[in-house]
């Protein structure tokens, strides 16, 4: 058995870079340091099924085919569409994403990543109001007040708290006991059990609570004695705790990005952090899910000027989440073909969007059998980045990290598949 050290985990946005993989006969058989979710990804959890060759749907069945045939058929679908949608991108490397954005431009497609159903509202809000962010290193070494708003890192990002809250830092030598942890969540969660202050606010009242906190912080009286189920006195105590921090960090998740108001909740939360900088040093970090969801937003921004939901219909990038998002074009029946890569909308999209996916040709570039591949007409299996292929990814706060190749694979990488698809779509478009 061989031990491969300093492997980067291709699961969540925490992008832990200290994993040790146990390798036997060119297969990962175990890990050290990884959380249970990361471990399952490395060793392929029981029941997971890999596609070994490209597949094409014939009637109700899939039949095996070659890469050449699958890529040719996929290129024909894309080149013949009036409004193709290219969705996913968050579980692959930045190099593949860059080719993907070019493919979208050449195909005059709509390109969107999983942010549009997770931290898209955060991206919209940071365009409106700014992005006072820091790195994990600063949180670990400096932060003495940490807020988790609308997220449950104990289960969703299992090593997040152990690395940045419980971990000892340069100015926080005692680790957890040097820090105050605030959890804002309507529910009791395993994360809230570890908090010093748990603000158990009413459902869908995040905006109201932030409004009250900001009003009190600006030195004004709030209109009511209780806001979002939290008393005026508690709000005043929290404001004192936040103002007196030496270095604070707000981590926020789906509980605030997708409760009522969506991007407006984040808009006001970002401004709360900006207001707090009048008293102390405060920063924020969104709790990004997929390991390279941040990477796509970076790549798409440097390629097109916009982070996600980009529509190339008239040859130039146009951007308006609400119109050019994947769910918008699916639910309004606007799109007439879909390419899914490195994500599983079949499992996560609303039923109305799945109805449209069932009607139109779907191409899935996907290593595993998933609900999306069940809806697909063409399945092209890639090697998995971070295990069978190397590539770059961005951690949730925007630090780029090189993913390692641990074992070999006969399959093409996402980037190679997209490059071949791009060449073929260019030829087909030119011949029209």
């Amino acid at each position: 058995m061989e031990l491969v050290k300093n492997v980067v985990c291709p699961f969540c946005g925490t992008l832990c870079d200290d994993i040790i993989c146990k390798v036997e006969n060119d297969e990962i058989v175990g890990t050290y340091n990884a959380c249970r979710i990361g471990h399952s990804k490395f060793v392929h959890a029981e029941g997971a099924m890999r596609w070994k060759t490209p597949m094409i749907r014939q009637g109700d069945e899939f039949v095996e085919t070659t890469y050449d045939d699958a890529i040719e058929k996929a290129a024909q679908v894309i080149a013949g569409s009036k409004k193709p949608l290219m969705y996913g991108w968050s579980c692959t490397d930045c190099e593949a994403q860059a080719v993907g954005v070019e493919l979208a431009e050449v195909s005059k497609a709509v390109v969107d990543n999983t942010a549009s159903v997770c931290h898209g509202p955060s991206v919209l809000a940071l365009q409106d109001t700014g992005y006072p962010i820091c790195t994990f290193g600063e949180v670990k070494n400096r932060a003495d007040v940490i807020i988790y708003w609308g997220c449950n890192p104990f289960h969703a990002h299992p090593r997040h708290m152990s690395r940045h809250v419980y971990g000892r830092g340069f100015f926080r030598e005692r680790g957890r006991s040097d820090r105050t942890v605030v959890v804002v969540d309507p529910r009791e969660s395993d994360s809230s059990k570890l908090a010093d202050i748990h603000l158990k606010l009413d459902f869908n009242k995040d905006y109201e609570l932030v409004d009250a906190i900001r009003t009190v912080m600006a030195g004004h009286e709030i209109l009511y004695d209780e806001v979002a189920g939290i008393s005026r006195e508690t709000i005043e105590e929290v404001v004192d705790a936040l103002k007196n921090a030496q270095f604070g960090c707000l981590f926020f998740g789906m509980g605030i990005t997708h409760s009522r108001g969506k991007h407006r909740n984040i808009d006001t939360a970002i401004q709360l952090v900006q207001d707090l900088n009048n008293f102390s040093k405060w920063t924020l970090i969104p709790m990004r899910g997929h390991y390279n969801v941040t990477g796509f937003n970076q790549v798409c921004t440097w390629e097109t000027g916009y982070p996600f939901c980009v529509d190339f219909a008239d040859g130039t990038p146009r951007y308006n989440p609400g119109e050019t998002g994947s769910n918008d074009v699916l639910q309004s029946n606007e799109t007439d073909s879909m390419m899914v890569i490195a994500s599983d909308p079949g499992a996560h999209f609303p039923q109305k969007a799945l109805h449209r996916m069932a009607e139109i040709p779907v191409i899935a570039i996907e290593p595993h059998k998933t609900p999306t591949t069940e809806l697909a007409d063409i399945i092209i299996p890639p090697a998995i980045v971070g295990m069978e292929a190397a590539g770059s990814a961005y951690r949730m706060e925007g630090v780029p990290i090189r993913m390692r190749k641990v074992v070999n694979s006969d399959l093409l990488s996402d980037k190679q598949i997209l490059e071949r698809l791009l060449v073929r779509v260019k030829e087909l478009k030119a011949s029209k």
Partner: protein
């Protein structure tokens, strides 16, 4: 005034974008020239005549009547400066986008972003409208700056977002966040509002004649005023007056909420 009548043929599933349907583009063009104007069908450019029958009489500034339902056509009247468009059915997104003058009447419903970044003219929607009526472009902090939008039905979320001037009147009900980040201008809501009226507003005036279900804590209560005057117009009745949103530094926005039905939001 002469009139050009566009009768829609079947609306396709993949939507059309017809920014060229505006009187100042049709001006001086013959019917054949109008049929040859470009519109977008998905990612392809097609001729207007492919999806619309064109009839009527051309002139220097013809009135445009769309005699049917264009529920899957976007951007009608984009940036128009003068003249009149009358739509006898529903319309898709961005009707009257960046409008600078003239008048658009929609007899049916309009989808989201009606009158986005409007600078002047008048937009009348007889049915319902979607989200973001009279809003800003995504990421911009300068929204509608002039003109008048009247919606006779209900509207969605975040109307008058970053509004910087002009007037919006909604006769029906409003979902959440009307007047979010509003800086100036007037928003009059005759129906009810679900929540967050005037969130993060820094200026401007919102009048709600119906019931506000939930109100934000960041406002200051200034008492009851009768027969209020808003930009020269007297609105009869008794109103609670609030100033805010005090979460924003130096905010001077005003919200009037009718006393009838709104006892629960006054302190």
């Amino acid at each position: 005034m002469s009139e050009i009548i566009l009768t829609p043929k079947e609306q396709p599933t993949v939507p059309l974008e017809a920014a060229n349907i505006r009187p100042d583009v049709f001006a001086g063009k013959t019917l054949d020239e109008i049929k040859e104007l470009d519109i977008m069908y998905g990612n392809a450019i097609v001729k207007l005549g492919e999806f619309f029958e064109v009839a009527g009489e051309s002139s220097e500034l013809p009135k445009i009547t769309i005699d049917g339902d264009v529920y899957n056509t976007k951007r009608i009247g984009q940036g128009m400066t003068d003249g009149e468009i009358h739509i006898k059915g529903n319309v898709n997104k961005y009707v009257g986008l960046e409008m600078k003058g003239g008048i658009i009447t929609v007899e049916g419903d309009a989808d989201a972003w009606a009158g986005q970044d409007m600078e002047g003219g008048e937009l009348v929607i007889m049915g319902n409208a979607g989200d973001y009526v009279g809003s800003a472009y995504r990421g911009d902090w300068r929204g509608m700056s002039g003109g008048l939008i009247t919606v006779h039905g209900n509207v969605g979320n975040e109307i008058a977002e970053y509004m910087g001037g002009g007037k919006i009147v909604v006769k029906g009900n409003v979902n959440t966040m009307p007047g979010i980040h509003m800086n100036s201008g007037v928003l009059i809501i005759e129906g009810n509002v679900v929540a967050r009226t005037g969130g993060e507003m820094a200026g401007g005036t919102i009048v709600v004649k119906g019931v506000i279900e939930e109100f934000l804590p960041g406002f200051k209560y200034l008492g009851v005023e009768k027969n209020i005057e808003v930009e020269g117009e007297v609105i009869p009745g008794a109103f609670y007056k609030f100033e805010g949103d005090l979460a924003i530094k130096g905010a001077k926005g005003t919200i009037y909420a009718a006393v009838a039905g709104n006892g629960h939001i006054a302190p």
